[in-house]
């Protein structure tokens, strides 16, 4: 089961993902991110503090947007990954392509610094 909430904070669009991202629920995450891009959001932050589990389908979603964010010159940051989820990203090597930090403040700081 997945629960996705969206909110804006200081010009930063935060997508909070709770629960499990598996083959069926990954579509919701995909839609949330693609909506953000369409609306022209420049700073997208994914709150992964309540993310319990991510399958290869979910990883595929993140992976597919790397290029899009680079092309549109937007910032895409993940924060709050628990140990297990962070490990998954590391094994796959996604941590070398995605910006992953620990807390929301760090994420905000990162974006603001870059701006």
């Amino acid at each position: 089961m997945i629960n996705i909430t969206k909110e804006s904070e200081d010009d930063i669009f935060i997508i909070k993902v709770e629960g499990d991202v598996d083959a069926s629920s990954s579509i919701h995450l995909d839609k949330a991110i693609s909506d953000a891009i369409e609306k022209g959001q420049k700073n997208v932050v994914i709150d992964c503090t309540e993310l319990q589990y991510i399958s290869s389908a979910g990883l595929g979603v993140f992976m597919s947007y790397i290029q899009d964010f680079e092309d549109s010159d937007s910032r895409f940051v993940l924060f709050g990954l628990n140990k297990k989820v962070a490990n998954v990203f590391e094994i796959l090597g996604l941590d070398q392509l995605l910006t992953i930090v620990e807390t929301k403040d760090q994420a905000k700081k990162l974006i603001n610094d870059e701006v």
């Binding site: 389908a57 990883l59 595929g60 979603v61 992976m63 094994i91 796959l92 090597g93 996604l94 070398q96």
Partner: protein, 697 residues
């Protein structure tokens, strides 16, 4: 004499029981006739004895009643419970029997009358004998008739009815017993008992349900037959009455309560049945119509089970609807799944069809053919009058298939207001029935389609299994064991080996993101790329980069593949390993009894689809020693969850490997799989699973 008689009776009794059970019609009939003659003989001889009053007076009565009892039991066994279609047969047999008895009795009386002048006739003996014959005929006939009527009355029995009937039977038998004591008819108690019996018989006579099951012609014939039976019974009444005051007759029927009650009952039932049959003649057509409707449903049912064609089904629906409500014409239209309309008409030309539609439209009944029926809360049918030269009223019933409006059944009559509520109900039921049949047809087609899909998947599984090698390449320096199972029919795991030369071997293990059919396609692409690139002898890192280049063009947007590529050089005793985003391999050192941790960086295939990929790969080199183990696996192993949703994990894997490290590869592999299966429990492993173990010698 009495003893002889009794033993003779019991012998005959046994004979009849046995003959009935062997159901030899001729033998039993012969026995029956034999009994009759024997009784005749014995009663006559007894009667002779009466002249010298040594024998008590109740013996003849006893004998007579015993005979009646035997006849009753025999009749019960002989005339079995009647089936619906045998009513006519039963009544016909009763008529015949009555006719024979009456003729015979009449014959005897005529003989007596003819010789009325001579001394022969006046002999008390002769008249008694003749009377006795008639007596036996009448009483036997009445008993047989009683049993026949019992079958009719109890055709549809209820508990209460059965109880009342039993009381009636036992009372009759009680009457028989009373008869033995030869009480005179004037006694008050006697009268009361007789009236009681007759009363019970009348009450039971109202059970005439069997009448409803006959059609018109059967009712007429039954009426005539029952009239005949009533006639014969009237003759018997007359006969008894004539002789009732005759003192010369010893065993007078008029004193026999049993026979009298029975006669009254049979006569009453025959007359009542006749009257009821007569008054039911007009209603039989309605009943027959209902029966026809039911048969119509049966026919529809059978058609839908046998024929596949929708046309035949619709034609049957139209035929049934037309005949059941006497409609004159009509048609059925059904929207096919493809969008065309299927029309089946009865006695209608196309021009007529259009003129009828015109007539309907002219009467502003446009909504008949509009989307009104699509609304489930709307009308369930439509009936009205139309302006047309031939047809005056129309009934339109919508056909609903899989909860959407799919067609119409239109019926026409040449009189105004020709469709009453009852007719509409019947047609609606037919239409519903036909719709269910069509739905079933669709479901059957879907099911067949599913079967085809399942077969295709089974074929895919076989093909994919063939892509995984049976034997893995190796030399004396190392041994291999592998296990691979997909969770669906097809899966995304891949492993392979390649012999470069006598001392260099390549191993690869790969895992496509996800599982199922899409993963299986990518897996076979990987195999193709592997086999085309591996003979070219690239070093490990370059090989993986080239794989990424090749597959980047083929893989879907969010698809990636993780793999581990291993080159074993047995001369240099070295293992070179590149981990492309795959779960880290285990390396067990025999001497130190520990596991090496692979520090190398890696990235999955398809994640970075340009030249930037290469920099994310690192190569590991290990010098192996005898007894060392290299364990390659896919994440189906470590991520397998047990009932408590805990993962198998690296720790458990390391444990199992360590414990079994000294065994040979096959045993180690089996140990791992066993441990995993036990851990997974009822849920099983829900992902593609592959384990490949290398043991260095």
């Amino acid at each position: 004499m009495l003893v002889c008689y009794l033993t003779g009776m019991s012998k005959f009794f046994r004979l009849y029981i046995s003959s009935v059970f062997t159901s030899e019609a001729f033998r039993s009939h012969a026995g029956w006739v034999g009994l009759l003659l024997l009784n005749l003989l014995i009663v006559v001889s007894l009667r002779n004895q009466i002249i010298s009053p040594k024998v008590s007076s109740w013996v003849p009565q006893l004998v007579l009643n015993l005979y009646l009892l035997v006849a009753y039991v025999y009749g019960q066994l002989k005339i079995k419970a009647v089936e619906r279609y045998d009513f006519m047969q039963l009544i016909w047999k009763m008529l015949l029997f009555g006719f024979v008895s009456t003729c015979f009795s009449f014959f005897l009386e005529s003989v007596l009358y003819l010789f009325s002048g001579s001394a022969f006739a006046f002999s008390s003996f002769i008249s008694n004998v003749f009377y006795l014959c008639s007596l036996l005929l009448i009483s036997t006939y009445l008993i047989v008739l009683l049993i026949a009527y019992k079958r009719l009355i109890l055709y549809e029995k209820s508990k209460v009815l059965l109880i009342v009937w039993r009381i009636f039977e036992y009372s009759l038998i009680a009457g028989m017993v009373l008869g033995v004591f030869n009480i005179r008819i004037q006694s008050f108690l006697y009268d009361g008992f007789l009236v009681g019996l007759i009363g019970m018989g009348v009450v039971l006579s109202v059970n005439l349900k069997w009448v409803g099951y006959l059609d018109f012609s059967q009712k007429c014939r039954s009426l005539l037959m029952l009239a005949g039976i009533a006639g014969f019974l009237s003759y018997f009444c007359f006969f008894i009455y004539i002789y009732s005051e005759d003192k010369g007759i010893y065993l007078n029927l008029a004193d026999n309560i049993f026979v009298l009650a029975l006669l009254a009952f049979c006569l009453f039932y025959s007359l009542l049945s006749g009257v009821v049959l007569f008054f039911n003649l007009p209603t039989s057509s309605v009943y027959e119509k209902k029966l026809q409707e039911i048969k119509g449903f049966q026919k529809l049912n059978r058609k839908s089970q046998n024929e596949e064609s929708k046309e035949t089904l619709l034609a049957a629906l139209l035929e049934n609807a037309l005949s059941s409500i006497d409609a004159d014409s009509g048609w059925v239209e059904l929207k096919e799944q493809a969008g065309e309309v299927l029309i089946t008409g009865e006695k209608l030309e196309e021009e007529e069809l259009n003129s009828i539609l015109e007539g309907i439209k002219r009467n502003n009944l446009k909504k008949v053919f509009a989307a009104d029926f699509s609304n489930p809360a709307g009308e369930e049918y439509f009936t009205g009058s139309i302006a047309h030269s031939l047809w005056r009223s129309v009934l339109v019933v919508p056909l609903t298939i899989q909860e959407s409006h799919a067609g119409l059944l239109v019926l026409l009559k040449d009189i105004e207001g020709g469709f009453n509520k009852d007719a509409i109900e019947v047609v609606k039921t037919y239409a519903d029935h036909a719709c269910v049949s069509v739905e079933n047809m669709y479901l059957m087609q879907e099911a067949l389609q599913n079967e085809r899909y399942k077969e295709e998947l089974a074929i895919a599984r076989r093909v994919q299994r063939s892509l995984l090698p049976e034997q893995l390449e190796h030399n004396k320096s190392f041994d291999l064991a592998v296990y691979s199972e997909s969770t669906d029919e097809v899966g995304g795991d891949y492993y392979d080996s390649y012999k470069v030369n006598e001392h260099q071997f390549v191993l690869i293990i790969g895992d496509v993101a996800g599982h199922g059919t899409s993963a299986a396609f990518a897996m076979s692409q990987l195999k193709g790329v592997f086999h085309s690139l591996v003979p070219l002898g690239f070093p490990a890192r370059e090989f993986v980069v080239r794989v990424n280049d090749a597959l980047s063009k083929c893989l879907g947007k969010a698809i990636f593949i993780t793999l581990t590529y291993v080159i074993i050089d047995t001369d240099e005793e070295q293992v070179k390993l590149v981990r492309a985003g795959h779960c880290p391999a285990l390396y067990f050192r025999k001497k130190e009894k520990d596991f090496l941790a692979f520090e190398s960086r890696g990235m999955g295939i398809g994640i970075l689809r340009d030249s930037g990929f290469a920099q994310h790969l690192e190569e590991n080199r290990i010098k192996y020693e005898a007894g060392d183990l290299l364990v390659l696996y896919t994440d189906g192993l470590t991520e397998c969850k047990d009932n408590g949703r805990e993962e198998f994990g690296m720790e458990r894997l390391r444990e199992v490997v360590k414990i079994n490290a000294d065994k040979d590869v096959t045993e180690i592999r089996n140990a791992i799989i066993d441990e995993l299966t036990t851990f997974a429990g009822k849920g099983g492993v829900n992902d593609d699973l592959t384990v490949l173990i290398v043991k260095f010698n």
